[in-house]
């Protein structure tokens, strides 16, 4: 187990190294580039040359890369040139990471808490009206563009009905104490209930929008997995030896059906940051996704580079965690 984990971590380092090199070369190849983005199209040739020298862009690309790598390893990803000009990329990341994590966790909780029970029930009542309706709605869930759903939710619940706030992380007039950067948690820790509540209401709409695709996928995989397991001999055996329904459900059906479901949840977790680009933009939610969309617009290379690398790293790490969690769920994997 330990050797396996170490080997996987080494592979992670290799993938990140290759990815960072590709990303680096790629961003340098962008037409316009950072100089045009900073100075605009009308700048004089001399001003351009000065800025290039200042940014170190006049050196050979491999030198630039090695310098970048050296600084990156010591935690310095450069200074933002557009998203929050002047702040360091790492600062921006640290500032916004709790926001996106909070959003992703709630979205994932919604997807799992609704997807697994619905999937189980749909499988138990296969081909019933309930089953067919759930399958169709999960298919629609995949076909709806996330950003459009976000708009729809915002339009109906924030603008027409006015039940929930339409943007941001917390009402502006609340002077909340910051402890961890997780606004709900902060509110609870400092007993500023109104702050926690405000943060929570701001989270509902974006989280629901972000949760649709993971929900649809978790639902379908759960349904398929439970259907597979229900046909197994050991379930029939369990039933014929008179085990109670909750025991069959918990120990025999769900436990065995969870393996592909956990895989799927992991996969969806990795994709949440990508979905957050669209959702956070619609709700003007100050997280990593919004920073990423902004960094593309403003060609803010330091921020862009760091965020794409982080997204890839999270994605790969989550996959690793999923593979390791197999051992917990499935004892057969442990003994191999």
């Amino acid at each position: 187990m330990l050797r396996y984990t170490v080997r996987r971590l080494l592979q992670l380092v290799a993938v990140m190294a290759v990815l960072s090199l590709l990303l680096f070369a790629w961003l340098r190849a962008l037409p316009g580039g950072p100089v045009s983005a900073l100075l605009g199209d009308r700048a004089t040739e001399e001003a351009r040359r000065n800025l290039r020298a200042q940014l170190g862009l006049d050196q050979p690309i491999i030198v630039q890369y090695l310098k970048f790598l050296g600084r990156a390893l010591s935690g310095d990803f450069g200074t933002s040139t557009g998203v929050q000009t002047g702040d360091s990329a790492v600062e921006i990341f640290l500032q916004r990471f709790p926001a996106t994590l909070e959003l992703s966790v709630i979205a994932l909780v919604i997807a799992v808490a609704v997807g697994i029970p619905l999937g189980y029930m749909a499988a138990r009542k296969r081909d019933s009206l309930f089953d067919n309706m759930s399958v169709v709605s999960s298919l629609i869930g995949v076909a709806v563009p996330v950003f459009f759903l976000a708009y729809l939710l915002k339009f109906v619940f924030a603008e027409k009905l006015g039940w929930l706030p339409d943007s941001g992380r917390q009402a502006g007039d609340i002077d909340a104490t910051r402890v961890t950067g997780f606004f709900i948690l902060d509110g609870l820790l400092t007993r500023e209930w109104d702050a926690a509540l405000s943060a929570f209401t701001h989270l509902i709409l974006p989280a629901v929008a972000l949760a649709t695709i993971p929900f649809a996928v978790v639902f379908r995989i759960t349904r398929a997995a439970v259907l597979d397991v229900l046909n197994e001999d050991y379930v029939r055996t369990a039933r014929s030896k008179g085990l109670t329904a909750p025991v069959i459900r918990g120990r025999h059906v769900l436990r065995n059906a969870m393996l592909p479901v956990v895989t799927t949840i992991g996969l969806q977790t990795g994709g949440l940051l990508a979905g957050a680009i669209l959702t956070e933009k619609v709700f003007a939610y100050p997280g990593l996704g919004q920073a990423l969309a902004l960094s593309f617009e403003k060609r803010d290379f330091p921020v862009l580079q760091m965020l794409v690398l982080c997204a890839a790293m999270v994605y790969v790490l989550v996959n690793l965690a999923v593979d390791l969690s197999y051992a917990v769920i499935d004892p057969r994997v442990r003994t191999q």
């Binding site: 790629w26 316009g32 076909a143 339009f155 994605y315 790969v316 593979d323």
Partner: protein, 314 residues
């Protein structure tokens, strides 16, 4: 197990369906799959949507009552009062915020959506086909090299990769959009095809062909590749839906086709953002079109995948 194995497992599971041994039912897998598909309402609904969509897209220049770029109703647009042309005779859905006939724009927009979806899928398929065939046919170090490259690409979540590629071009247009959407699918197709090629390699008919002295190139192109394509075709249908949605998302982020004369649903939806409060139908109608078409391709793809799954054989 390699990195990102989760996503790969799913691709590989689909690839395995390429090498399902024929059972003694006397009917080939494809034939029995088709027999089940014909009676499957999900498949029929999806296929119906696709047929209508394609026919409309092809005939739209003749079906559209007006030129989609013609601002014939522009005198009814009053910016200050946020007023747009209402539905009226000859303009069943009224006009958009530029005074163009909305109905015609929706009809003609189907062309661009079809074009982006099909071209992006074909391009992704072509890239994946080359890489996957190389890896699956040559094996050895070529295989390792290609698959490691594919692993790195799969390590970046899909839409993020598409956005990165689209941002690479200074001036986004229809073709940069297609390339960005297609590139995301290349590693998926490559891995899928490699998997089913490897399954073919081990099969008896390839062994027989080799024993008969068939040239390696003929084995790859006449014996392995045609038999490995089944899962790839299923995946293409699903990818078409993803491509259409991804293209809409890129348009939303301002990386789509800015050409105003050629309406496209994603761009229409994106440009309606500003007026969504007062005129929601400007956003909802193109969105509904995208959803229905994407759903059509998803329904067909999913039901084909189920039908080809040997576990469902009856």
């Amino acid at each position: 197990m390699a990195l990102g194995s989760v996503r790969k497992d799913r691709i590989d599971a689909l690839a395995e369906t390429a090498n399902t041994p024929e059972e003694d039912s006397g009917v080939s897998l494809a034939a029995s799959a088709w027999r089940r598909l014909r009676r499957n309402p999900v498949f029929l609904i999806g296929a119906g949507i696709i047929v209508v969509f394609i026919v409309v897209a092809i005939l739209s220049p003749w079906l559209a009552p007006h030129d989609p770029a013609d601002r014939s109703l522009v005198d009814q647009v009053i910016k200050a009062r946020n007023q747009i042309p209402a539905p009226q005779e000859g303009h069943p859905l009224g006009g958009d915020d530029q005074g163009r006939d909305l109905f015609s724009r929706l009809l003609v927009g189907s062309q661009q959506t079809l074009l982006v979806g099909v071209l992006a899928t074909l391009l992704g398929l072509a890239g994946g086909l080359v890489l996957g065939t190389l890896a699956g046919a040559l094996a050895g170090w070529v295989d390792s090299l290609v698959m490691r490259a594919v692993d790195v690409m799969l390590a970046v979540p899909g839409i993020l990769l598409a956005v990165s590629i689209a941002a690479l071009f200074a001036k986004p247009n229809l073709y940069t959009l297609i390339v960005a959407v297609a590139m995301v699918q290349v590693p998926v197709f490559a891995r899928l095809l490699r998997g089913s090629m490897l399954a073919q390699r081990a099969s008896d008919h390839v062994l027989a062909a080799r024993a008969l002295g068939v040239r390696p190139r003929a084995i790859v192109f006449r014996h392995m590749l045609p038999n490995a394509l089944g899962p790839v075709i299923v995946q293409s249908t699903l990818v078409l839906a993803i491509a259409i949605i991804d293209a809409a998302a890129l348009s939303f982020l301002g990386l789509g086709n800015p050409d105003d004369k050629r309406p496209e649903w994603g761009t229409m939806l994106a440009s309606a953002q500003g007026v969504i409060d007062s005129h929601p139908h400007l956003a909802f109608l193109p969105a509904a079109c995208i959803i229905v078409v994407a759903l059509g391709f998803t329904l067909v793809g999913e039901s084909m995948r189920d039908a080809l799954d040997p576990k469902n054989r009856r």
